[in-house]
């Protein structure tokens, strides 16, 4: 049931127009962080205020919405955001990746390949990939403007020097369309290759940091690396304990206090569909 006290999808039309303009600019300049006038949302920062605003601005009454949190449809963040749009927009929702037209995600890309009919909206905590190396925003903007990305490589160098390999396992920096270096939000680096040449539109919203950026369909997205330490999409070397999948990203679940543990698919829809089909 739509709550009539709210405009469609919570935000007023002027705000949505402002966000859409930012999104269009972001798609026109792949990987570039477009500033936008982020609004207060009825949820705390860090819970996906940026993603929710992007979703609200792109949502149509005919859309079928899926919300995932770390791959799962049934965790607090996913459930509350899904309910939020059910109530304020009255759109249909689904847990099936293939059936959704708009997917808001926190920290995962679904295992099921996306299509041209879909939009993937990421929740981004810190949009600036160089934030912890260069605290000055003026300087990071200049670095982006001049494509002066030696500093990014220093970050990877430090990883190898300290750990013997590139130990960054999430929020692994990528180069988009041979130009901007971008933080892919804290998705595991296992998901990085899925961003490359993806048929779906990928939108990134950072509410607290007031930035929107995007990867248009079929865009080259390359993970940064060294010639002698190439990028590797890593995952736990197990099969899923429920569906037996060997090609999906796994969560480690502690089952008791005696060291018992199991590895299960982080993408609950993918896992359930496989189990249903009896694979």
């Amino acid at each position: 049931m739509t709550d009539q006290a709210y405009n469609f999808a919570y935000l007023d039309e002027d705000t949505k127009r402002m966000i859409r303009r930012a999104i269009l600019k972001a798609i026109a300049v792949p990987g570039y962080q477009v500033p936008f006038a982020s609004r207060e949302m009825p949820m705390p920062y860090g819970w996906g205020t940026g993603g929710v605003q992007v979703t609200a601005a792109t949502l149509l009454p005919t859309d079928r919405l899926k919300v995932i949190d770390q791959g799962a449809d049934d965790t607090t963040n996913a459930v509350s955001i899904r309910k939020f749009f059910q109530r304020t927009a009255g759109v249909a929702t689904t847990e099936r990746t293939a059936e959704a037209t708009l997917i808001q995600t926190r920290h995962r890309i679904p295992e099921t390949p996306l299509t041209e009919e879909q939009i993937l909206v990421y929740q981004v905590p810190i949009p600036e990939p160089m934030r912890f190396l260069e605290p000055r925003e003026t300087e990071t903007r200049r670095i982006h403007a001049l494509a002066d990305y030696g500093l990014m490589q220093v970050r990877l160098y430090e990883d190898i020097a300290r750990h013997g390999e590139i130990a960054t396992s999430y929020a692994y920096p990528v180069e988009v369309a041979c130009r901007y270096v971008m933080d892919p939000s804290p998705i595991p680096k296992f998901d990085n290759p899925k961003m490359n040449d993806c048929p779906a539109i990928q939108l990134f919203g950072a509410g607290r940091e007031q930035r929107i950026y995007a990867v248009p369909p079929y865009t080259r997205v390359v993970s940064l690396d060294f010639d002698d330490h190439p990028f590797r999409a890593s995952k736990a070397s197990h099969d899923c304990a429920i569906c037996g999948a060997s090609d999906s990203y796994l969560d480690e679940v502690i089952t008791d206090d005696a060291g018992g543990r199991m590895f299960v698919c982080s993408d609950t829809d993918y896992c359930a569909a496989r189990a249903e089909r009896g694979e």
Partner: protein, 284 residues
């Protein structure tokens, strides 16, 4: 004359330079590396530095001395592209030909600043990334200019640490774990790894105790000689310029009041202020 030079633009030498630089559009190896003409920088009504001109030749070290507030650092900032002078030109002879660095585009200047140029800050904290290991600090220039082979980057970083007398075993330590003298040597390694032609140094020995200063000066002298490095060295310490500089410029209130060979200026100062400066040095 100035207006004419400015119109002619970079690459064309002025006539007053004598036969060497006026003989061709792209001068040969015996032309000056850096040609500074009429550099002026004002801060509102006050003068930072005014009407400074000089030539720096390959392999030469130019010392700039003067008291605090005399415009030394402003001048160095203008020369190294960190400040934009209100007037004048700084023509640097790049690998492809002379270019006015005041008017070149920012990406070009940044590229120059991490290939052919070096800048050594007085405080190593300004020139180093304190949260990044020594190896990462030295390797940054290489990575910024496109090096993407970890093993080779690390190899040259280790080599350079040894050249500045830092133990190779400390390559993964952060600069914050280094002593002041080591930090300064690390900063020098970080700058020289790209094989620059010209180094700007702002009080490189400031804040170090005398024995550490002596070692650093020794090291710098060796590096300048081995690499054929030219340098513009700003300091208020006359002993430092005596050891390092070939020529000397004395500044006061933003103006250059005396220039000459270092020994000549220090042993036979002509200007009243230079005489005061030289006689103010404490004798042990």
């Amino acid at each position: 004359m100035m207006a004419m030079l400015a119109e002619a633009g970079p690459g064309i030498s002025g006539e007053e330079e004598g036969p060497i630089s006026s003989s061709s559009k792209y001068p040969g190896p015996d032309a000056p590396l850096l040609r500074v003409r009429q550099i002026t920088k004002r801060y509102g009504a006050r003068i930072g530095c005014a009407d400074v001109s000089f030539d720096l030749w390959p392999g030469e070290v130019m010392g700039i001395v003067g008291e605090s507030g005399s415009g030394k650092s402003t001048l160095l900032g203008c020369l190294s592209g960190q400040l934009r002078p209100d007037q004048g030109e700084v023509v640097f002879r790049t690998r492809t030909g002379p270019v006015d660095t005041v008017r070149m585009s920012e990406p070009d200047r940044r590229l120059l600043a991490r290939t052919d140029w070096a800048f050594v800050h007085q405080n190593p904290r300004d020139g180093l990334r304190m949260g990044v290991s020594a190896g990462g600090n030295v390797g940054e220039r290489l990575m910024a200019t496109g090096a993407r082979h970890y093993g080779r980057i690390r190899g040259s970083a280790g080599e350079w640490l040894e050249r500045v007398e830092i133990d190779r075993g400390r390559i993964d330590d952060r600069p914050s774990q280094f002593s002041g003298g080591m930090q300064q040597r690390l900063q020098i390694a970080r700058n020289l790894v790209s094989g620059p032609k010209l180094a700007f140094m702002d009080e490189p020995t400031g804040g170090l105790d005398v024995s550490v200063q002596a070692r650093l000066l020794d090291l710098l002298r060796g590096l300048v000689r081995d690499m054929g490095l030219s340098a513009v060295l700003v300091t208020h310490d006359l002993a430092v310029v005596r050891l390092l500089a070939d020529r000397l410029m004395v500044m006061k209130d933003g103006h250059v009041i005396e220039t000459g060979l270092t020994d000549q200026v220090l042993d036979d100062p002509q200007h009243g202020y230079t005489q005061l400066l030289v006689s103010s040095v404490l004798q042990v």
